[in-house]
Subunit: 366 residues, 4 copies
């Protein structure tokens, strides 16, 4: 249907099942003349790969291959087709439970929707699908960079352990460095350690944990977003709520506004260096669905990994009887750290698309 294409002018179509031959995407609408190589994509894809004790033991090189759209090191303005092959695939654990719907997973709903499903590794519903988002997002990020914009995400909270860092106190490159310096992607090293401990504790108990990720975009010009339906915040919410495991999205002060008064919530408008600015950023950089020039700040709630080794109730849909399931396979006990590059990618895709709709990116980046 229309489900696998994202974006209006900068458009990404993704494809691929977790245990199929490959996963990939086609990016249409990329401006011509952008210097782009497989290395640019690889860098972001590598960030998404599992890398420590807190991640799955599925280890794939995920080598990015670009098949079209680049000529002599530059984008042609034609579709960019990219893929990574699925190499370290082990479908055996799934074979055994293929008649059972895994709780917290999309097994039942895919079956209900399509009448059949690829039960190997979650098929299309697997988190592996997000590799393609990251590939496309890498291009988006490169374009944003040309226009002085940067998108950075981090773990705001994991398993109740909360990080109190205020991104607006940091240069984003510096923040980035801090975030990438530990496996949970939390900029506060001490907090990161405690998060990691909680994750490992849950894992050792055959369980998993949830958390909150925050994404900040800086350098975004005022004027992005298309009211009244494709508002910038609505578009971001669409982009992020569609990332696997996300159950909530909030902008700026988010759910805290529910307990505020108007006099507290309204960001006062001032002049700084001759430009319109806001004293606070409860709006998260968006007013009336349009960017106001301040940092875009968004947070998402990420549920605990549904694949746990504790026994759970389920149904055998072939025999239509109740049963019990123990999910094996290789899984991250916490999705937050590896979700962060995906969330950044989605925000970057939205921003490039909105920049184009606002007419701020030419067809040729000479």
């Amino acid at each position: 249907m229309v489900g696998n294409t994202f974006g209006y002018l900068f458009r990404v179509t993704t494809w691929g099942e977790s245990h199929g031959r490959a996963v990939g995407c086609v990016v249409d609408g990329c401006p011509a003349g952008l210097e782009l190589s497989e290395r640019d994509i690889q860098r972001e894809v590598d960030r998404r790969r599992p890398k420590s004790a807190i991640s799955t033991s599925r280890r794939e090189k995920d080598e990015v291959i670009i098949l079209s759209g680049i000529f002599e090191g530059k984008t042609l303005g034609t579709p960019i087709s990219m893929l990574v092959y699925n190499k370290d695939v082990d479908s055996k654990p799934y074979e055994e439970i293929k008649h059972l719907f895994r709780p917290g997973h999309a097994d039942y709903t895919y079956q209900a929707k399509f009448g059949l499903r690829d039960w190997r590794g979650g098929g299309r519903a697997s988190g592996r699908e997000t590799v393609a988002r990251v590939m496309a997002g890498a291009i988006a990020k490169k374009i944003l960079e040309r226009f002085g914009m940067k998108v950075v995400g981090f773990a705001r909270e994991i398993c109740g352990v909360r990080c109190d860092v205020n991104p607006s106190d940091f240069d984003l490159d510096e923040l980035s460095r801090l975030i990438e310096s530990n496996p949970v992607r939390c900029p506060d090293g001490d907090v990161a350690k405690r998060m990691e401990e909680e994750i490992l504790k849950a894992r050792d108990e055959g369980d998993s944990v949830g958390g909150i990720a925050e994404v900040v975009a800086r350098g975004v010009p005022a004027g992005l977003g298309e009211p009244v339906f494709m508002k910038l915040d609505a578009y971001i919410a669409f982009a992020l709520m569609g990332v696997p495991a996300v159950k909530g999205v909030e902008i700026g002060a988010g759910f805290r506004v529910a307990r505020m008064r108007g006099s507290e919530c309204n960001d006062q408008i001032v002049l700084r260096d001759g430009r319109i600015r806001f004293e606070t950023n409860n709006a998260g950089g968006i007013l009336g669905g349009i960017s106001n020039g301040e940092d875009i700040v968004v947070r998402v709630a990420i549920k605990p990994t549904p694949s746990i080794s504790k026994p759970q109730k389920t149904v055998n849909w072939v025999d239509m009887v109740e049963d019990e399931i123990v999910v094996k396979g290789r899984h991250d006990p916490c999705i937050v750290p590896r979700a962060i590059p995906v969330l950044e990618a989605m925000v970057a895709l939205v921003l490039v698309d909105c920049m184009m709709m606002q007419g701020l990116i030419p067809r040729f980046l000479g």
Copy 2:
């Protein structure tokens, strides 16, 4: 741009400024053969009208006029054009502050985006725009009713006063009756009274309050939603985050999942009456972006009305100097109650669209 059309197969295009001649919409893709009259639309529009001390004193009859798409009492399958005229309009209070950007409003961002703006009553960024959403939603609701589905919203929390009602304990018609029995639209009458008191207190202090609204959809078949981007939850988040004043959206357990473990968060799968069901509903009726047959449960955070009579800092953009503003005009001190029919409308639009994409609504409702 693309901003004023919502939906893929069931499509709504809205138009109109707050103090322009009228606001309205065109609904394209409505199945033929649906009995429909202006009364059906009027009923929902009336629910959105201000009606008590807690609302604006702008009082418009908002008489719905249908201009096309209906013949002999039935839809033709052609576009349905509808409007209400703007009658009780007073632009004077806006004239005085037209050079000042109102904090918390879209004045600055519209100016930044379009280079000019209709400063009368917020123009296109006014909440008045939502009348058109409600008109379209009324048609969507009528279609859903034909397929045994119902969408009901209520005030879950206002100004810190929280209602603990569990909608799954209620028949939705009964819940509806309770909700409509008080001006704040909270199903618990005692809580409703306390909410109202808080709203009036804030109003008397020249201030405003925020809150949380919840929307429940019942009777939704499993299988709706289009992964991997137009997932049902992503689509709902898109729809609701674009409603004026919404700063957060969560599905099912929402942000609470951040502190859950997998063993707690996963809804156990069981058989009831021979059908696949879930013991709990932390998923809010959606797994992998596809409905699972349980109630769709979604909550939104609504910020306090930005129009307050307390003095605020702002900038006069003609002279580019800092200034102070006191916002007059007629405003609701709390948006939650009147937002509820709008939120219901948006959820209904999403559900009809997803039903169509899933092939569950024929072109002719004979």
Copy 3:
């Protein structure tokens, strides 16, 4: 469904049945800051009105009303809602034949598609629907004018009488003047007279005639069109084949290319005044689906008006028996002259949309 919206960035949604209350449209994506009044729209709508013996006797003032999107004489960048009321409506002749499908009309196919239809005056399938296209096209033309572009259509052939004028020999304003000086819209006055005679002759015999219209767009920059599917020629063909009664579309040399050799068909490339130009224009201004800077030249075949007073075979679909029909009502014996403003409008809509996609029209026309 998706049928009533045209355009990708400059989007028009039309609505209305021939004998309903009104017909109208919503234009979304119009840049802000464009000076626009009802007079601008009225001028084009008036060109579409019947005005002589060769036209229907249905005479409506067709007074254009703009309901939104304009403030202080300029576009706001928000949707522009426009309509004309249906005033001179006489449904009686249709009442008598409502159980008969009129040959050459969409009566049967609408019934087959939607299960019911508005039999009054053809309902949505009536040529009256094109008023809305002309209204939207008037805005598109005004935008094109700002960028030095002009779109002019004329009768190239009616009932076998052919006009040999070569538009490239004319200034388009001059050509326009000649075209508007006679009721058939043929730039050659003598040919126009013969065309008119043929039309009247057919009318007197209770019959109707077909013809060919040509549309020329000048000042179109090289680079418009979005390969490989939304090529400029493909987009124009889409736009024009959807105009009622059109059965063929050709670009440049069109069907004549079938009998050419490559050495004759290829337009030789030369330099004139330091710019790339083409010695001939068999390409009709489009190569590889992208404009090449020469005149866009397109022709459409228009079938004879299907409403004729000669007896025709048909079927009474209520009783499902064969029958005979004589179509009364008020009809143009030849559609070509009145179709021309509609065809121009469609080409103008395509060009504005492609200009926007190419990034050549800013969001604010300051």
Copy 4:
């Protein structure tokens, strides 16, 4: 931009340059449960390959690889990613003329649009792009077959040699057999021979020839097409005018309607076997933009191959001086025969999409 995706519910996104690594496509919206293998796709791709003296000497195996969307021999309802590698590539002849714009080609217009271009073999503008259309069309054809529909194309005229066969006299399988029995794809063997002679004669003179292809779709139910803009004829015109080298599209009687009277052009409505039928088919199976149950009949004008070895005038765009060009490389002297599978594919894509929009194809083909 939006150029490389075709379709609304059944969506194809194509990618690839002529001398890049591969060409391919992603098909989104294919119903689940369809039996599909690489063989199904290969069969159609093979039909597009050059095979005789009248074709280019570029000979590629064009082996179809499916990367996703199939599981245990059936479609999953998820995106189907397919490709063929470019193997027999020789870019040398293009290197020599990379500073010259080839007349009749898109060299200049791509440069004007994108600021740079892949000059090897025409890059994205090459006819090689159409392999991806044929791959997607193969799936569409397989779906249509399930619903009793078939699409067949043939050479109606080449270089002035015209074939007078009336497809309605034939069973389409029989017609297909006749068409595939000769290299020009004309169902009349004698005419085919004369066409072939004309093609070879032109080739020997370093020239090329044009022609007319006709496509017939049978078994199409009444009711397809989405007025008023996405009418079936408009959609077909969009699909076919976007095929490389097409300069005209006509439906049914096409341009002949220009010289008809209404009494001749209107297809009389009759009952046959209790069903509504039409005595003639000047409408080409489409009335008011909606299919009427008769054969869909469409013809396109195809220009002579622009690559000819005769010297032509052109411009060296690096030095901006006039020059002369002789196009080498390997080219078909007539595009018509190899275009036919492409045209069929496009019509099939349109029909499947319209079937889906009309709700006639379920999400699961059990």
